[in-house]
Symmetry: C2
Subunit: 134 residues, 2 copies
């Protein structure tokens, strides 16, 4: 996965952020897990960076959110999860295990908006049971 690390480093630099081992590791964790909350990221990264501070994880999450490198997903009944920004998509959340999955967004979505409402974008979330939990 050497190449991946380089990708993350470049991604950070493109956004005018310093590429640090901690940030690269965080992106690696998010890439592998798909969707992770702060605690997951912190516990995972501690395996490689034993003395990393939780504050660093928070600070990097906020910085990378601000740069648009990652995005926050607010999930019902759970702490927010984060994912690396990619092509627009929707989410499926398993109500058994809580796992979040990316799914393709509906091709079209006709919502009836009252007069004067200007839609900019839509987000769709499906709750249900995932294959592993059936």
């Amino acid at each position: 996965m050497e190449t991946r690390y380089m990708e993350y480093a470049n991604l950070l630099k493109q956004k005018e952020l310093k590429s640090t081992p901690q940030r690269v590791a965080m992106l690696g964790i998010l890439d592998r897990k798909g969707h992770a909350d702060i605690d997951y990221i912190y516990n995972e990264i501690k395996k490689d960076f034993v003395s990393i501070s939780l504050a660093t994880v928070y600070k990097n999450v906020n910085t990378m959110l601000g740069a648009g490198i990652i995005q926050e997903i607010k999930v019902p009944y759970q702490k927010s999860k984060f994912e690396i920004t990619k092509h627009k998509h929707s989410h499926f959340v398993c109500e058994k295990c809580g796992e979040v999955y990316d799914i393709q967004e509906p091709k079209k979505l006709d919502v009836e908006l009252p007069e004067g409402f200007e839609p900019k974008e839509a987000s769709v979330m499906i709750m249900g049971v995932c294959p592993s939990c059936k």
Copy 2:
């Protein structure tokens, strides 16, 4: 609005919860505002119940959530808001003022789910600009 208070009282009793003036007031605030976060509810209710504890607001929100009387709405970039449970609907969130509006849900929603995913329900949120902010 006398009648409304009776409605709230009955609503609580139907769910086996004690009807207290504080709970009735909270429901009244939610009904009037539509969607409110903890701080809004607390600040509003303090006008009538000067010495109410923030803990009481939290406890009642959790209790009424558990009973299904109210529901939590996780809004991007904001603290969670709560609303009285009503017929199923979607939400429009104004990215300028943060206000949440109820809108009718899309008639149909065809999402392509990978094999093995069992959808139970969908939630749609539209971000955009509301009439007041245009």
